[in-house]
């Protein structure tokens, strides 16, 4: 059941936000300083950004926009996007859905919650997908499903590996049953890519939940995760309401999944490019010469 996922994610967000502004702290210009929502350390925004938005004290990994993720992952200038103009319609006639989508498109510079394309990473060519939780919690509707499916089909045809940075609140409720079917569509494309011998690396980032966890995100040959990120099927509150007992603190963290055997390795953001290129090398992919 996917109930309450959005709510849960929002609540986590609010908790983080509220911790950022205790009364005693003098007002700091927003873009000058960064205060870590986990350990409360305060440091210069420039430093935070140069550390790829991780905390130098506690290694907190903040969520990234698709652009930020792309910039720290792909070799400069190597990215060629797929299906940039694909836009959701409104299959169940959900009130004001188009309006909401248009506002999000303007705010985020993308048409929906995922960017797909082809790039090199330390010289290794790969098809890449980056989900952006700023866009309706990167929920999966028609566009996300179709773009992922096409990315895998392209990779199958061109014998390329696929790297998916997953982040999602789950299926996109506003598209009704159509969004549920994207789980089958994407998983089918992953399976075909796999059966053709293709390599798929899933990188789970904060938060990877619901219908995305229950489809393509969990189907990687190799599944990496950033430290401490939320990964799960059902929402924390739904579980708490169902079983009426306190959940362990590390419940549904990357570390919890590593312990239970559902993640291959936890990789720090600063080591991600190296980890990915190393896996590609170990699968006999060849490094390309940098473009002149």
């Amino acid at each position: 059941m996917l109930e309450d996922l959005f709510k849960m994610v929002k609540d986590r967000f609010n908790e983080e936000k509220s911790e950022q502004t205790p009364e005693s702290v003098p007002e700091i210009p927003k873009d000058l300083m960064f205060k870590c929502p986990r350990c409360q350390s305060v440091f210069y925004m420039d430093e935070f950004v140069s550390l790829r938005k991780t905390c130098p004290t506690c290694n907190y990994h903040a969520r990234l926009s698709w652009k930020e993720r792309l910039d720290i992952t792909a070799d400069p200038g190597s990215f060629k996007p797929f299906d940039e103009n694909m836009t959701s319609l409104n299959p169940i006639g959900f009130p004001d859905y188009e309006k909401k989508i248009h506002a999000l498109q303007d705010a985020n510079g993308i048409k929906d919650a995922i960017v797909t394309g082809e790039c090199t990473i330390r010289g290794y060519r790969a098809v890449i997908g980056i989900m952006d939780s700023n866009f309706l919690m990167a929920s999966m509707g028609s566009v996300v499903g179709e773009k992922i499916t096409r990315a895998f089909e392209y990779a199958t045809e061109h014998k390329l590996p696929v790297i998916m940075f997953t982040a999602s609140g789950g299926a996109r409720m506003q598209e009704g049953i159509i969004s549920l079917m994207q789980m089958a569509k994407t998983s089918g494309a992953v399976k075909r890519h796999s059966d053709a011998g293709g390599l798929y690396i899933a990188v789970m980032t904060d938060p990877t939940t619901g219908g995305v966890t229950a489809s393509f995100a969990s189907l990687g040959d190799i599944i990496l995760a950033e430290p401490k990120v939320l990964i799960g099927f059902a929402g924390r509150r739904v579980i708490q309401d169902t079983i009426r007992q306190r959940l362990p603190d590390d419940f549904q963290t990357a570390e919890f999944l590593l312990q239970s055997g559902f993640v291959d390795a936890i990789v720090d953001r600063k080591s991600m490019r190296k980890a990915l290129s190393n896996i590609l090398r170990l699968h006999n992919f060849k490094k390309e010469e940098p473009a002149q």
């Binding site: 059941m1 996917l2 109930e3 996922l5 709510k7 694909m86 836009t87 959701s88 409104n90 299959p91 169940i92 006639g93 959900f94 028609s142 566009v143 179709e146 299926a171 409720m173 506003q174 598209e175 009704g176 049953i177 159509i178 969004s179 549920l180 079917m181 994207q182 789980m183 089958a184 569509k185 998983s187 089918g188 494309a189 992953v190 399976k191 075909r192 059966d195 219908g211 966890t213 229950a214 489809s215 393509f216 995100a217 969990s218 189907l219 799960g232 099927f233 059902a234 929402g235 739904v238 579980i239 169902t242 079983i243 362990p248 419940f251 549904q252 919890f256 239970s260 055997g261 559902f262």
Partner: protein, 267 residues
């Protein structure tokens, strides 16, 4: 066929006397031989499975078990499977593939169970694995939604060549209550959600999700279980015959395309 609203159908499928797989299996199939366990962790009574004959053709039956009373529901966890239930289903599906038996999935669940152990044992992974593996299972797969088809927990048994729904069955991305709770922060707007979500069999035929609507007696399946069972049985016999005649490559391509084309976007 009747022209009931989604809300009216919601009431029908919640009838305490609505027949379940425990009623249907003995009527539709013969020689049902139940097979237990996922060979990994345990046996989940929320999903029963086994081999049976349908009009003397051996088939594998995988079914979600709504209880008819509290005792049955306690045993079957109100038809909310754990990962081991989905893994048992996949084991039996693979077995069916090996012995060239068609697979018949009877779907009736509010959703996969939400709990600590379910998460720990990989509820998401178990569902994902089923979806991917059923997509390329080299034998016909037919799914029938009997009552509630809730979310990924239903989809894990509904990646198939043909999906049929009982006339009053509903199949949705989330329960109407969950939908109202997430999008409007108000679970009491359940009925409004049910109407908006487009979750009836007719709606789903329109989306290309459902291939066949199986008629129920007036007022719902509980008014005549036998007749409903006969209708299901008639459909299944026809579907098994038709799908068994298709060569495997064509069957799998058609199955892939059935899901591949679902999506509503512009570019």
């Amino acid at each position: 066929m009747s022209n009931l609203s989604a809300t009216q159908r919601l009431e029908i499928i919640r009838e305490k006397t609505r027949p379940t797989v425990n009623d249907y299996i003995p009527v539709i199939f013969h020689h049902f031989t139940e097979l237990h366990g996922d060979r990994r962790f345990g046996d989940d009574a929320a999903i029963i499975g086994g081999i049976a004959t349908l009009n003397s053709v051996p088939v594998t039956v995988i079914a979600q078990v709504k209880g008819r009373n509290l005792d049955e529901n306690k045993k079957s966890n109100f038809s909310m499977p754990h990962p081991e239930g989905y893994r048992k289903a996949l084991r039996l599906a693979k077995q069916a593939e090996k012995f060239h038996r068609p697979v018949i999935c009877l779907v009736d669940t509010p959703g996969a169970f939400c709990g600590i152990d379910a998460e720990k044992r990989g509820q998401g992974e178990a569902i994902a694995e089923n979806i991917a593996e059923f997509m390329t299972l080299k034998t016909p797969v037919i799914s029938v939604v009997l009552g509630e088809g809730g979310s990924g927990g239903a989809l894990a048994l509904a990646v198939c060549d043909e999906l049929a729904m009982l006339e009053n069955a509903l199949y949705s991305v989330i329960s109407p209550r969950g939908f109202a709770s997430i999008l409007w922060k108000d679970p009491s707007r359940e009925k409004e959600a049910a109407e908006l979500m487009k979750i009836t069999a007719e709606d789903l035929v329109g989306f290309g999700v459902c291939d066949k609507i199986i008629a129920e007696p007036a007022g719902g399946a509980h008014n005549d279980m036998r007749l409903t069972a006969d209708n299901i049985s008639e459909y299944l016999m026809d579907a098994v015959t038709r799908l068994s005649a298709i060569d495997t490559d064509t069957l799998l391509n058609k199955r892939y395309d059935k899901f591949r084309r679902i999506g509503v976007f512009s570019e």
